[in-house]
Symmetry: C2
Subunit: 274 residues, 2 copies
Amino acid sequence: MKRSVFFISDRTGITAEALGEALITQFDDFERTEITIPFIDTPEKAFKAVAQINQASKNDGIRAIVFDTIVTPDLRKIFKGANAMMLDFFHTFIGPLEQELGKESSFTVGKTHSLNNVKAYDHRIEAVNFTLNNDDGATTQNYKDADLILIGVSRCGKTPTSLYISMQFGLKVANYPFIAQDMDNLKLPKDLALHKDKLFGLTIFPERLHDIRTERRANSRYASQQQCQLEVRAVEALYRREKIHFLNTTTRSIEEISAKILVKCKLSRHTSPL
Amino acid sequence: MKRSVFFISDRTGITAEALGEALITQFDDFERTEITIPFIDTPEKAFKAVAQINQASKNDGIRAIVFDTIVTPDLRKIFKGANAMMLDFFHTFIGPLEQELGKESSFTVGKTHSLNNVKAYDHRIEAVNFTLNNDDGATTQNYKDADLILIGVSRCGKTPTSLYISMQFGLKVANYPFIAQDMDNLKLPKDLALHKDKLFGLTIFPERLHDIRTERRANSRYASQQQCQLEVRAVEALYRREKIHFLNTTTRSIEEISAKILVKCKLSRHTSPL
């Protein structure tokens, strides 16, 4: 029996999904169909969503589970008509917070993922652009403006991590690859040595690197077990010799790698609002 | 009086921040210092965090507010020693869910932002790589593999939006710019016309475009009010003529733009788990 799980929001639904997923994945073997309905910001849309939930509950033969972050009280009331277990991520906490702060909340929809502060937003876009322009060692001349420089062998996760950090945390992240030709006598290039306090190393298990590179260029020297082993060994030795913080990306998600780097580099996460 | 607000997690802290921010921004003029402490996954770290919270409460002269997503019950208990208002995003809901589902949760930390499913993770990385390789009209030959193709004038938000959608939702997003030379007799290029069902247009207010382009290339024709107006007008006319869905990015966050595009294009958000 598959059960329907809804994520409902008057905005993007991203927060409802994230916390809902964190909760639901605690239950093993829970067979489910997941449906996200974002931008429920009028009574019409709310009634339509309730109808969709009720239809799902009927089809499944068991009431749906609904995670929601609906802010507006009037819209919330409409969901009382849903034949579902409602888990209300927003109002559960807003009451206690009002009491603690001794004032009423403004019930303004979507202060989080909307654009309240053009300056902070520009800062974030600027960070993403910086990261794109300084990807893969494209240039080393902007390192003075970087908040962070990720280093590592080709295909160890530098680019996605750089992009995530700039997008989520508003930091300017450059990245620089060590390539096969560097390996014989691996040293920190001068442009990197000048900014050693901004460096963070990524590494990866050679077997996993071999798999990833094989997808890209099968049967090449680049993808060979031997070359992957050699590069990873050389680069990790460099990190240790130069006392550069580093992290193995193999079993970690981009979010996890990013958050760990920020901790190790003592970088603030709040340069840009979410 | 500034009050300390903590976001505490045994994983990345990203979800605690998102929901905490959504709640806290409902209170206007709430002067606060925000501190995120992620990866609280041992009793030692938990005790250290409690000490930091208590010190902040003491310094502020008022107890701190703590938003947390700590999963492990033993670690949660340690936070009972905190002189703070604790808002517990996880355990508040896990009890009711256990009852509803008729089984116990596994209390496994961090199933959300950790790497459980290598295949789904690879899919997401592949999507990001596709997006990077098909940015800014770099090539049009891969459009058959794209889930979505964003179109619009230079600097209207195509690249950050493409990257966010691929990273968050695991979709392959190409983007294609219309440039000044196209404007005289603007038509849909053949490569785009072939994939009309995948197209989504972005637009922007000409004044805002002028500001953004001025930052980039001041006093150029490219940044002039007149040119910005001309391009936006021509592109919006094209969208209407060709019946292409489009959205004005000017007052919207990347998350909001991305989520709206997925709704309009009826694209699934769950091709990759969060």
